[in-house]
């Protein structure tokens, strides 16, 4: 058993962890980052679906009751496996009330207040405004369909270096070409350059109190079979930043309750799936040519589902603050690779016993290159609740990697369901018009709902009854513990949340610095952006 000490322990190395880790280390604090996943760089990101490859090593798919969450599980967290779509949240989202009857977000935070922090993240990653020459065939076709239906469509800002991108569409397994501006190219190496230590395959179990601060308890896990515990240890520190991800942060805090004392009611409650839902369209190639006059250099009209860089266009017409809550959503064109992206897709008009497997599904899959996936991000009702924590980790692992079963349960309310139904109808209105495509939502019956953008399980707010964190991201009743990941975002954003999670983490840093100084840690607040790297090559765990 290993025992160490430092000034600040950061649990998790995704957006919520990497940002405070860099700023605290650059400001002079001793920082240790504990990450439960492996430390991978571009050379590891093979283009390969084989079990045990990057497609399973860097991911965690946590099955729940009625809600299933796909997230990152590696150094860099979600930033390594996400699609790098980074729009800011529309202004009205900060005024949302959900079913509370009062504002969810703290009074101190609105879009204007967050914009300077959005700016910091955009400069640091960096985020690039995309133009029509960056828009892939799939994104272009979606935009054309939106236009045909009298809608607007926008290229979506992205943290992608367009000169390096090959449009290979393997970015869910990490970017082989270092075109995706993940945290491996900015905040994390900059943190290490300033003396921070990152320990991979370290899974935090709980936090206990010491005389001068906190003790963080972890297990180390095997690099191939994450079910195998290879050791354990503790690190004493003055301050803890919890950023283990929305489906792990509340579990660590729940397990810590025995020693730390009662947790705020909102720890492990009010989970939001960002109102997410997917539809799959199968496009009529002849209509693509007939309706829009589109064709590729080889003469094909579309047949380009495989080509691209995830989502590149979205329609934002329903991001309208004058519409009532639960009726606002964005629709984003998306690619999802085989496996995750195909199983739940339903066949339109089948008379077979199942809409998601069988003879007709196989025929649908034969037209896979003519597919288009449309991603709905709407307003749900924060209805997710976590059960008691499992023995270790945040969930019981089924497979060596990637697949586990957690305690989250989610029963969508009438508000959420009505929002999904409106968004589904919107997708059909755009893509079925004049016979362009047949569209079906993904099946709800197989595993329930799903999200790639889990939020709000340990949320910020002004009301102690419905928020776990004060408006500085400090855990209520537990001074010196800060939560800075997606779990702090109080509700669905109707757009991709990475930039908002990051901006909120940036905003929390001055308060964390102040708290550290009050505990005798010699640290100052540094506002300079992290030094950027062009390549992840050589950014490795010290041997």
């Amino acid at each position: 058993m290993s025992m160490d000490s430092t000034d600040v322990v950061v649990i998790g190395s995704g957006f919520g962890g990497a940002i405070p880790a860099y700023r605290l280390a650059a400001g002079g604090a001793r920082v240790t980052v504990l990450e439960r996943g492996p430390w991978l760089t571009a050379a590891d990101f093979d283009h390969d679906f084989k079990f045990g490859g990057p497609a399973t090593r860097a991911f965690e798919f946590t099955l729940g009751e009625g809600m299933n969450v796909l997230g990152g599980n590696c150094v860099g967290g979600g930033s390594v496996v996400y699609f790098a779509a980074t729009p800011r949240a529309p202004g009205y989202t900060f005024e949302r009330q959900g079913s509370l009857g009062r504002r969810m977000w703290p009074r101190a935070i609105d879009r204007t207040a967050l914009d300077p922090y959005y700016d910091m993240v955009c400069e640091s990653l960096p985020v690039t405004r995309q133009d029509w020459n960056d828009v892939t065939y799939a994104g272009g076709l979606f935009a054309a369909a939106c236009d045909h239906a009298g809608r607007t469509a926008n290229p979506v800002p992205a943290a992608i270096d367009r000169d390096l991108c090959t449009n290979c569409n393997w970015m869910m397994s990490g970017c082989r070409f270092d075109a995706k501006r993940s945290l491996l190219l900015n905040y994390l190496p900059a943190a290490v350059d300033h003396g921070a230590t990152i320990r991979a395959l370290h899974e935090v179990q709980r936090i206990t109190r010491t005389e001068g601060g906190y003790r963080v308890h972890y297990n180390t896990v095997d690099e191939v079979d994450y079910r195998v515990v290879t050791g354990s240890g503790t690190i004493d520190c003055r301050l803890v930043v919890v950023a283990a991800g929305t489906v792990a942060t509340p579990v660590i805090l729940q397990r810590s309750e025995e020693d730390l004392g009662e947790m705020p009611y909102a720890v492990g409650r009010y989970f939001s799936g960002n109102g997410e839902r997917l539809n799959t369209a199968v496009v009529d190639e002849g209509k693509v040519r007939e309706l829009f006059g589109l064709s590729r250099p080889d003469g094909r009209a579309y047949e380009a589902y495989q080509i691209g860089k995830g989502p590149v266009t979205a329609t934002w017409d329903k991001l309208d603050g004058s519409l009532p809550e639960f009726s606002r959503h964005s629709l984003e064109q998306l690619y999802f690779p085989p496996g995750f992206g195909t199983i739940l897709a339903q066949v339109a008009g089948t008379d077979g016993p199942s809409s998601w497997f069988g003879v007709d599904k196989k025929e649908m899959l034969r037209r896979w290159q003519s597919w288009m996936t449309v991603f709905i991000m709407s307003e749900d009702d924060n209805e997710g609740v976590f059960g008691p924590p499992p023995e270790t980790g945040n969930a019981d692992r089924v497979s060596q990697q990637m697949l586990s079963r957690g305690t989250l349960s989610y029963r969508p309310t009438a508000n959420t369901r009505a929002g999904w139904a409106r968004a589904d109808a919107d997708v059909r209105d755009i893509l079925e018009r004049d016979g362009l495509a047949t569209v079906m939502p993904w099946s709800d019956d197989v595993i329930g709902a799903y999200t790639v953008h889990p939020l709000a399980s340990c949320r910020i707010g002004d009301d102690p009854g419905t928020s776990a964190l004060d408006d500085r991201n400090e855990l209520r009743g537990h001074p010196g513990i800060f939560v800075t990941d997606g779990s702090a975002v109080p509700g669905a954003l109707t757009v991709n949340p990475a930039l908002t999670i990051s901006a909120l983490a940036e905003r929390a840093v001055p308060g964390i610095v102040e708290a550290a100084r009050a505990r005798g840690v010699p640290v100052r607040y540094v506002t300079e952006p992290p030094a950027r790297r062009r390549s992840t090559s050589g950014f490795r765990e010290p041997v």
Binding site: K362, L403, V446
Partner: protein, 191 residues
Amino acid sequence: MSAPELPGGLDEDERLTLEAFADTIIPGECRYPGDRAIAGAAAGGGAVASGALDLLTSEEGGIAGVLPTLAAGLNDHARNLADKEGLVLEDGVPPFVALSFGDRSRLAAELTVPEHPEQELWVPLAMFSFMAWDTGAATHTIEALAAGHPGLTGMGFAPPGPDGLWRFPDFSYGRELATIHPHTTEYGDPA
């Protein structure tokens, strides 16, 4: 031609039963005359020819140890269905394999709906069967494509370049195809 050898420490009946289930999820053509596990309900290779048993029995998958139990469960459910509906199950093959393709499909659909108390068992089995066909996850993707993997080739999955990586230099229509939202900010964000 005899049935191909497949791994996993399963006995013959268990193997046939799991093959029949995988073939129900993504059906394929028979491997040899008299193939019972594969019903021949669709042209081209299905989940079984795509390596479903390799994937199910893989160490990485984590469900190899429960496969005998799952095979037994499928046969119990098949027997119950036959009893309830007066279906005659031919001797010599496990009950699930003896069901017609239509009856297998109906049973698989019943087992995977939320109302079924064992849904948690059957959905992963179905998903692994599915992924054998559309990801070929039992082998490296490059090797699977080179060997003419039925699923990946059936979907039209484009091959990689000579270095085993994918690149698509032609990726864009390169045209403005819609009007952007009137409230878009200078950075390209929603207001």
